[in-house]
Amino acid sequence: MPSLKDIQQEFMALLQENDRHLEKRIIKQGELTNEQRAEIYRTGYRIRLRGVIDSDHEMLSLYLGDDLFDQLVEGYIDNAPSEHPSLRFFAERLPEYLSKTEPFSNHPILAEIAGFERRLLHTFDSADSDTLDQSVLQQIPADAWPTLHFTMHPSIHFYAAYWNSVESWQSLKNETAPPEASHNEQPTIWAIWRGPKKVTEYKSLQGAEWVALQLVMQSKPFSEVCEALQPHLEEEQIAPMLFGYISDWLNNGWITSARG
């Protein structure tokens, strides 16, 4: 008699490797053959996993077209089976798979599109936090600014894109043809966050704003942020520019605290 462990291993071998040993363990009943019974489980397994990639990576699937997307899904299920209790993590390794597996790796924009879609998903259910609004700008005394630290909302993610991946994603989302893939030496930095209405939003950042944000994220005081902007902006532009950025960040719901 097979042990419980034997049966479970044979079951997984059926699902994952199409090993048909399990068919010999089951009794013949009714109109279904043992092969059909095993097939119900194997098909169900693969359809379920495919469904996750379908819904997590809708624009990638449009970008690839049916045949290549099928090839991607089959290969990914075979090579990166789920190791997490939640299906939300199943396609977590898809960008890596795309960047390492031919023919997908010949088109690096694919891994980037998938990476962007993963960031959107991470943003969707990352932690909540109350946010500050514009009124805080009036409440901070002038002499407190140099030592001020900001804390950013836990849902914010940043994404560096070397290809026009996000633009392509956007085109597909708007049901238009994506532009031809093009590469840039300097990446475009995208901020992705969950807005006050719990809707995921994203926007690209300008160079100086990204410099300032990185320091703010590292909890550097305001005076250091100003200093770091000197190579990017004229001296007299720095304060109004930063004030403008902070005002935008507050509007976007990015800032959760401001402390001296």
Binding site: M1, P2, S3, L4, K5, I7, Q8, Q9, F11, M12, L15, Q16, R25, I26, I27, Q29, G30, E31, L32, N34, Q36, R37, A38, I40, Y41, G44, Y45, R48, L49, P81, S82, E83, H84, P85, S86, L87, R88, F90, F124, D125, S126, A127, D128, S129, P154, S155, R194, K198
Partner: protein, 281 residues
């Protein structure tokens, strides 16, 4: 664990979040899929926190893999415990099945062999899980498409032995019993007669896809007549049991589901009030 009759509930689905908050539909309680809320924050948690102010909540998991020979997933159990402390559900359930093998998750409710070895394994694991979670668990019978050659008993005998040996409670899924009865050619009433009412904490009703030669448990159709008929038969045996309709795909409007739930209420009214009358006679 609450043993109270909660009435008639529905599965909480994303699609209905805002309708539930704005219209407060006539549903007695909601069942959540635990894994969908084991996240740090965002929309699902936001809505759940609002909805649980108005409705009792029951937690229903799909990933405990209680019958697996893999070690218990302690991270998962920790996350589940944390969620239960936040949600304060009436009770918590998962399935009598295995989902993981060698660390790989099938995300399916795979059937266990009905043997003494499985009974002993389940008994030991259920006690271990209940200790970790600090509360009792309820386990659901799954639908299946195959019968193992080395089974030592029928599924209902297996459940009865488990109840006796382990003392755990069941979430009896009437649709699953019907699906399996067709797929394996047994009489569903044999099954229902073997399940003592005191073992049953909750009842699931759902729809399926009839493929002629077999039935696939798809939860994408309304509850069909044969399942209603079985529910009515079991209701006569069981007396009032918290009952809910599961719909996971092709999900209709809240109003449609509330109307469907009325059919369960009608059966309850019919059967359980008769029972009361009989008791008073």
């Amino acid at each position: 664990m609450s043993t109270d009759f909660l009435g008639f509930g529905l599965g909480l689905r994303t699609k209905h979040f805002s309708t539930i908050l704005s219209e407060k539909p006539a549903v007695d309680w909601f069942e959540i899929i635990s894994e969908n809320y084991m996240v740090d924050g965002g929309k699902p948690r936001y809505f759940l926190d609002q909805i649980r102010r108005d409705y009792p909540i029951v937690m229903h998991g799909v990933s405990m893999s209680i019958g697996s020979t893999d070690p218990l997933n302690m991270d998962y159990l920790k996350g589940l415990k944390k969620l239960s402390e936040e949600v304060q559900p009436q009770w918590m359930s998962d399935h009598l099945c295995f989902t993981t093998v060698g660390g790989i998750n099938s995300h399916d409710l795979l059937p266990l062999p009905y043997t003494q070895e499985t009974l002993d394994h389940l008994t030991q694991r259920i006690h271990q899980v209940q200790e970790i979670l600090g509360r009792e668990m309820v386990f659901e019978n799954v639908s299946s498409y195959l019968t193992y050659e080395h089974d030592q008993m029928q599924e209902w005998e297996f459940l009865a032995s488990l109840a006796t040996q382990c003392g755990c409670k069941f979430l009896l899924d009437i649709n699953n019993i019907y699906v399996s009865s067709r797929n394996h050619g047994f009489d569903p009433m044999d099954y229902l007669h073997a399940i003592k009412p005191e073992w049953v904490q909750q009842i699931h009703l759902a729809g399926h896809s009839d493929m002629g030669t077999h039935i696939v448990d798809t939860h994408d159709h309304p509850v069909p007549d044969p399942v209603w008929a079985l529910y009515e038969e079991y209701a006569k045996i069981s007396g009032p049991k918290s009952t809910m309709i599961e719909r996971d795909d092709n999900i209709p409007s809240m109003q449609e589901l509330v109307e469907e739930l009325q059919l369960a209420r009608d059966i309850g009214d019919r059967v359980w009030s008769q029972e009361k009358r009989a008791a008073h006679a």
